[in-house]
C-alpha cells in the first residue's frame, strides 16, 4: 500500500444553521476542500453521517451529495459508526488511495441536527447506544457518560474540578477558532454551576447539538509531490479502527475505553511511533469525562492521570501535550458525522502552521481520535508533516 497525503481542507462556520440544509453544508465544505487542494475533480467520495434518516428524513446520502456537488457518476459511499462516522469515512478514503484503486478521494462528514426538536435529537442520538437494552429503559448519552464519570471518580479520585477544567480549556481554544459554534471562553465557576444534566455531568460538560459539515481531499504522496506541493506536506502515517460492546453494561470495566486502546495500538504500530512522539492530539470530548478517558486510552497519560493533566495545564495549548486545540467537540460543536473529519482538519492546519492565534509551536506529528456511542467504536489516525 502506498503513502497518502491530506492536500485539501474544507470547513464552514458551525452552529444552529437554519438557513443551510444537509446538502448545502456538505457541498460548501466539499467545495472549500477542493479549492484548498486546487483539484478540479475527485475520483471517489466517502461521507460520514450518523443518522440522515432520523435527523433529516434523508438517506441515500451518497447519491444526494454526488448530485449536489456535481460529481456524478463517481462512486460515493456513506458510512455510519455513530459519532465516529467521520473517522471511518477518512479511513476508507485513505484505504482507497493507499490501495491504488483511486488517485484523488474526498472524505467528508455532515449532520443536520437542529431541524428537529431537542427531544427528538436526544432520541436520534440515543440510537448510537443499544436501543433494546439501553434506549428502551430510558438511558440517553448524558446518563451513560455520567455513569462512566462516576465510576472514574470513584476508582481514581478524578474530581469535579478536573472535569470542569476540560471544558474551560476547550473553550479557551475554541475562542480562537472562527468556525466554532461557541467561540468564547467560560470560567471554571460557570462550568461548576451550570445546570445539572446527569449527575455529575452539568450542561457545560456536554458537547452541543450542531449543524455542520467538513471535508478533506486525499491523494497519493507521489501525486501530491508532483502537483500539490506548494505547502508543507501532511501524510497519513497510521490508521486504526476498533469496536467494543455497544452497551455499557456488557463491559468488564467502564473506566477505560477498549476500542480506543485497540485502535491506537494499530495506528501507533503502523506509524512506528508511540504516545511520546505525538505533538498534538484531537480527541472525542463529547462529554468532559470522555476527554479524560480517551487521553488515558491513547497512552498520553496513565489511567487515572487524565483529569490532573487537564487541571495542571498539561493539555493546554502551551502545555507539553496539547489536546483539542480546535476547541474540541465542546466549543467547536459536534455535528456527529462531521466531527472526525474536522479533527483531521485541525491537525493538518496546525501541522501546516496555519492555525493563527491558536497555533502551537512547530508540531510535526498529530493524532486524531474519533469515537462512536459510549465507546462502542473508535478510529485513531496519525498524521505527520514531512
Amino acid at each position: 500500500m502506498r503513502d497518502v497525503a491530506v492536500v485539501g481542507l474544507g470547513l464552514h462556520k458551525w452552529g444552529e444553521l437554519w438557513d443551510l440544509s444537509l446538502r448545502d453544508m456538505f457541498t460548501i465544505a466539499s467545495r472549500n476542500a477542493m479549492d484548498d487542494a486546487g483539484v478540479d475533480h475527485i475520483d471517489s467520495m466517502y461521507i460520514g453521517c450518523m443518522s440522515g434518516g432520523l435527523f433529516a428524513a434523508q438517506e441515500h446520502i451518497g447519491s444526494l451529495m454526488a448530485d449536489y456537488l456535481g460529481v456524478t457518476p463517481i462512486p460515493v459511499t456513506r458510512v455510519e459508526s455513530a459519532c465516529a462516522s467521520g473517522g471511518v469515512a477518512f479511513r476508507l478514503a485513505w484505504m482507497e488511495v493507499a490501495s491504488g484503486l483511486s488517485e484523488i478521494v474526498l472524505a467528508g462528514g455532515v449532520e443536520k441536527m437542529t431541524d428537529i426538536s431537542g427531544d427528538e435529537a436526544t432520541f436520534a442520538l440515543s440510537t448510537a447506544a443499544d436501543t433494546e437494552y439501553e434506549g428502551y429503559v430510558g438511558v440517553t448519552f448524558p446518563g451513560l457518560y455520567a455513569m462512566m464519570a462516576a465510576a472514574h471518580m470513584q476508582k481514581y479520585g478524578t474530581t469535579l474540578e478536573q472535569l470542569a477544567h476540560v471544558s474551560v480549556k476547550n473553550h479557551d481554544n475554541g475562542a480562537l477558532n472562527p468556525n466554532a459554534q461557541y467561540p468564547f471562553p467560560v470560567t471554571l465557576e460557570t462550568v461548576m454551576n451550570s445546570t445539572m444534566v446527569a449527575e455529575p455531568l452539568r450542561l457545560l460538560h456536554c458537547s452541543p447539538i450542531t449543524d455542520g459539515a467538513a471535508a478533506v481531499i486525499l491523494c497519493s504522496v507521489e501525486l501530491a509531490r508532483e502537483k500539490y506541493n506548494d505547502r508543507p506536506m501532511v501524510v497519513i502515517k497510521g490508521s486504526g479502527q476498533a469496536t467494543d460492546t455497544i452497551a455499557l453494561h456488557s463491559r468488564a470495566d467502564i473506566t477505560s475505553l477498549k476500542a480506543v486502546e485497540v485502535a491506537a495500538k494499530k495506528a501507533y504500530g503502523m506509524a512506528g511511533v508511540g504516545p511520546k512522539d505525538i505533538d498534538l492530539t484531537e480527541v472525542h470530548d463529547c462529554f468532559s469525562i470522555a476527554e479524560i478517558m480517551t487521553t488515558e486510552a491513547l497512552g498520553l497519560f496513565e489511567p487515572g492521570e487524565g483529569g490532573a493533566a487537564a487541571e495542571n495545564g498539561v493539555t493546554s495549548r502551551d502545555g507539553s501535550t496539547p489536546v483539542n486545540t480546535s476547541g474540541g467537540l465542546k466549543s467547536k460543536g459536534h455535528p456527529v458525522g462531521a466531527t472526525g473529519i474536522a479533527q483531521i482538519i485541525e491537525l493538518t492546519t496546525q501541522l501546516r502552521g496555519d492555525a493563527g492565534k491558536r497555533q502551537i509551536n512547530n508540531p510535526r506529528v498529530g493524532l486524531a481520535q474519533n469515537m462512536g456511542g459510549s465507546g462502542g467504536s473508535s478510529t485513531v489516525h496519525i498524521l505527520e508533516r514531512q
Copy 2:
C-alpha cells in the same frame, strides 16, 4: 491489488420474521457464512443497512453487530447506499482484502422492515429519494418507478404483459429457493389482475417488505487456495460503483439507468469481459420495470429489448441469458440492506453448482447488479469460477 475469492455464504429464510430482531438475523447469517467458509475468525466486517434508524430505531450498527457476533474489537463499518447498501459493503470488503490490509473480511447486509407499519415503512423507503423535492410532494417509490415504466412503454412499446412476465419468471425461480419469502409461482393472469398500486404498476410488479440478512466471507485467492480449497473457487473479477442524480426529475432520460451503465462499464473493464461472457445475472428488480431497465443498462439487451427478453423466455432459467435465478427481489424478498449480498450468494451458489432444483447448466461467469433509490446509485460485480 491482489485477487479475492468468495469462500463462505450465509443466509436464512427471509420473510415477515416477528421472532427475529435486527441483531438476530445478522448474527445468524454471519455465523452461517463463517461455518460455510470454515473460518474461526474474521479480521474486519462491512455491513450494508439502509436505515437502522427509521426501521428499527438503531444506528451504530457496526458496534452492535461486532458485539452480538462476538468479534469485538475488530473494525466494523456500516455502509448505506439505500437499497444498494449490500453491494457497497461487498465492494469495500473486496477492496480491503485486495489492498492487502486484511486477510479475511465479512461482507453482510441486514434490514428489519416489519417492526413498523406499512405506512412508516413506505416513508422510511422514501428517504432513498430526494426528500425535499420528491418525498415532501408525496411521491414514493412505486410512483417513481411507475413514471419510469410509463416512459419506457411510450418510448419503446414495452407492454403490460412483458412487465408481468418478469414477475412470473421470478416467482417460477423463487418457488425453487427455500430461503425465499414468497416461494410459489404466480400466473400471468394473477399478476395482470393484481391490485393497482401506481399505474401501470400493480402489486405483483412490486418487491415486498422483508426482514432478512445475508453474509459472505472474502479472502485472498492465495489464502483460499491454501486453506479453503475443498470446492470450486469463486473469484471476484470486476467491481464497479457509480452514482446518478438522486431525483428522477434531474435526469435527461428516465428510460435508462446511467449509474448502472457506468458501474457495469467499470466492472466489465476490470474483469476483461463483456455482456456476452456472462452466464447468469442477478439484477435489482425492486419493480418489474427495473429488471427490464437494468438488463438493458448492463448491455445484456439493446435498449427497449428487455421486455421482449422476459416475454420470450430469454431470461428464464433455461433461456440463453438467465436473470434472477434466485427469484429476484420480487419472490425472494427485499430486505434492502441485505439484497446486494444475497445476489452474490446466488451467483456463488450457482457457480459452485450447488443451486439444486434451480441450478443452471455449468455457469462460469456471473454478474450481480444492486441499485439504490430510482437509480441514484448502483454497484456491479462480476464473479468467475476458476
